[in-house]
């Protein structure tokens, strides 16, 4: 018998009902708060000032319309990549290759401009749709490969998509350093103006309030894609199949759902969304093909999808939060802070799922004789 008995004990009971929506959000929020707290401790240990860092992140990302617009620019690729992960994860397909699909999308879009298939002064109405198609196709192709390998040879998609990330980066580098290198620099030439997606600032003449705002047409793509993904997943027959496979592959098989075909199609859909993200970044922000076009958007998209609980509209909101983190994080020392905070958030988020599956009870222990 122990000499000292705590006056209460903690008991976890499996939850039989689904928890209410507010509770789900509350738990996620709690996870973020805990993560920021833990992140603060590490920043302090590394010799930084956590409170100043966090205030700085807030100010540098939401402090004015100008910086908020920049936050949205970072959120656009995250929305699209987050949706890409959402689609795949809903079928329990672990597409970790959104980063590579993003790079390939950027490559495809650039190829439209840089291979000279269009006259230099082609209209915006020709350039942008063609770049979109090429970006989407290249991303879908990069999703097709692991999808096919999984369906045909049962190759673990986590590893194949990851390996394809590295291959995609080397592929782009071949063109950046070699074929399309401009004057020996590690970047292509700047695209003609008509290959740039319009920004809010382009309309500053008519609406002076828009001056300097960098948010571009990609935001519209992102929002439309969110609606599309929501419709596909929750209102279409295909989405029903995807969800069925994700929840219970055996039941799906007995119901006559073609799992192999869906594996390939969903990976392609996922890759297409990530490819569109790459196109939108190239055409809306960078305006040429170069090396550092992504601070790990493809990986952050995984966290976005998870934090949004695979809800396409929540993906949009969560992307803005992470866009802020990426934007403001660039100036924070030590420079690894945004990545670390993302890691801590994902860890505490997964841990917090326990609170959704179990009811925690604190039971007063009665003094037993």
């Amino acid at each position: 018998m122990p000499d000292f008995v705590l006056p209460f004990r903690i008991k976890a009971e499996p939850r039989l009902d689904t928890p209410p929506v507010w509770y789900t959000w509350f738990v996620s929020l709690l996870a973020i708060v805990v993560a920021l707290f833990l992140g603060g401790i590490v920043i302090a240990l590394a010799g930084g000032d956590p409170i100043r860092s966090y205030i700085h992140i807030g100010k540098a990302s939401f402090g004015s319309w100008g910086v908020f617009s920049d936050t949205m620019v970072k959120a656009i690729p995250l929305i699209l990549v987050g949706l890409a992960c959402t689609v795949a994860f809903r079928m329990k397909l672990w597409n970790i290759g959104a980063e590579g699909q993003f790079f390939l999308g950027a490559f495809g879009a650039s190829a439209v401009v840089l291979t000279g298939i269009l006259p230099e002064d082609a209209s915006r109405w020709v350039y942008i749709p063609l770049m979109m198609i090429a970006g989407i196709a290249a991303g879908a192709l990069w999703g097709f490969i692991p999808g096919y390998l999984k369906a045909k040879y049962n190759v673990n998609e986590i590893i194949s998509t990851l390996m394809l990330n590295y291959i995609a980066i080397a592929w782009n580098n071949f063109f950046i350093f070699g074929v399309w290198s401009e004057g020996g620099f590690q970047m292509s030439k700047t695209f003609p103006r008509n290959a740039w997606m319009p920004r809010l600032a382009d309309y500053a003449k008519e609406f002076p309030a828009l001056r300097g705002l960098t948010t571009h047409l990609g935001l519209v793509f992102g929002l439309l894609a969110a609606v599309l993904v929501w419709y596909v997943l929750y209102r279409s027959r295909w989405g029903y199949e995807i969800r069925l496979i994700g929840d219970n592959p055996r039941a799906a098989k007995y119901a006559g759902v073609n799992i192999r075909r869906n594996t390939v199609l969903v990976m392609m859909f996922s890759g297409a969304l990530a490819g569109l993200a790459g196109m939108s970044e190239i055409s809306g922000v960078v305006h040429r093909l170069q090396g550092a076009i992504s601070p790990g958007y493809g990986f952050t998209g995984i966290i976005v999808a998870w934090l949004a609980k695979l809800n396409p509209f929540a993906v949009v909101l969560v992307s803005i939060f992470f866009g802020a983190l990426i934007l403001a994080g660039r100036e924070i020392q030590p420079s690894g802070v945004p990545k670390m905070i993302q890691g801590i958030i994902l860890v505490s988020l997964i841990a917090s799922d326990y609170l959704l599956r179990y009811r925690i009870r604190i039971i007063r222990t009665t003094q037993e004789a």
């Binding site: 890691g343 801590i344 997964i350």
Partner: protein, 322 residues
């Protein structure tokens, strides 16, 4: 190009993959898939280098690296074993966490300059064996020799000892192991820890022996993920894991060295005259990993081999499993 030199360096470079692969084999044999190898390796590489810079003692660096990565692995053990969360997502999270932590804690380390590295030496007698001597036993780092020892030990431990049998039982049929009085939870925590320490050792081997220094994420450059792939190719067997690791190590070296000479087999070396063709060479280890997985899965189907039956599944006492 001197083939002996390339193979010799390939064995050294493969040692990194070997440690990480062996560690992951231990964790997966106990039923826990840990995709956080890359993060744990970075953590190991960073802490080993950091401690070696501050204390001047590389051995202390190795020790701290193993502890740091082992500690990090316990986050994964807690989330997947105790909280029963999805092992895939938790492993990914661990990679993010390990990468982020090592970037923050390793800030400024890349400019640290030179440190005392782990020693390299030749083994008397063995180094005089023709062909094998120069490749395996001449001027190799102490870590390489450790790899030679660890591989048969791991194989013997898993297949021919009592604790090894418990390890396999926990990974194949945890409920049965539980009824025999084996603590499933404790063993899974323990072997995830073993996997973590070996990943840390792999990281330390990079930063203090094979390619010394701290180059943030480029220190590991995806080797942790290649190790995860090699485990599948190895069919969860340490000896096959070692062979795979050394072959991959040699491939990595070959890719580095093939761009050097002006002629290749009496022909003009295209990689020398078009340096940016080298990017295609850089793709090879990653493309090979995918190819190896295709071959491995076909073989698994033919021989009816498979992953540990309980791999990826949380064990919940009293619930009907498997």
């Amino acid at each position: 190009m001197d083939w002996i030199v390339i193979l010799q360096a390939g064995v050294a470079s493969g040692t990194v993959l070997l440690f990480a692969t062996l560690g992951e084999i231990f964790a997966e044999r106990s039923g826990v898939l840990n995709l956080g190898v890359e993060g744990m390796m970075l953590m190991g590489a960073m802490s080993a280098f950091s401690v070696a810079v501050k204390t001047g003692n590389p051995w202390l660096g190795v020790l701290v690296a193993m502890l740091a990565a082992g500690l990090l692995s316990q986050v994964h053990a807690f989330i997947t074993v105790t909280l029963q969360a999805d092992q895939v997502v938790s492993g990914l999270a661990l990679t993010f966490l390990g990468t982020g932590l090592s970037l923050v804690l390793g800030e400024g380390l890349s400019k640290a300059g030179t440190v005392a590295l782990l020693p390299a030496f030749s083994i008397p007698l063995l180094s005089r064996i023709p062909l094998l001597g120069p490749i395996f036993f001449t001027d190799q780092n102490v870590m390489v020799y450790l790899g030679y020892l660890l591989t048969p030990l791991a194989w013997y431990y898993i297949n021919h000892t009592r604790p090894g049998m418990h390890l396999r039982a926990v990974g194949e049929h945890p409920a049965a192991a539980d009824t025999l009085g084996i603590s499933v939870y404790r063993l899974r925590y323990f072997y995830v820890f073993v996997g973590g320490t070996l990943a840390g050792l792999a990281g330390a081997t990079i930063s203090l022996a094979i390619s010394p220094g701290w180059f943030s994420e480029l220190t590991t450059a995806g080797q942790g993920w290649i190790a995860v792939g090699l485990v599948i190719f190895a069919q969860w067997d340490p000896v096959r894991g070692a062979i795979g690791s050394y072959v991959f190590g040699a491939l990595r070296r070959l890719i580095l060295d093939i761009q050097g000479p002006q002629t290749l087999l009496w022909f003009a070396n295209p990689f020398y005259y078009n340096p940016y063709w080298g990017f295609f060479l850089q793709m090879l280890p990653y493309a090979f990993t995918v190819i190896v997985l295709v071959l491995g899965s076909r073989e698994a189907v033919r021989k009816r081999l498979g992953a540990p039956a309980a791999l990826g599944l949380p064990y919940i006492r009293g619930e009907r499993g498997l």
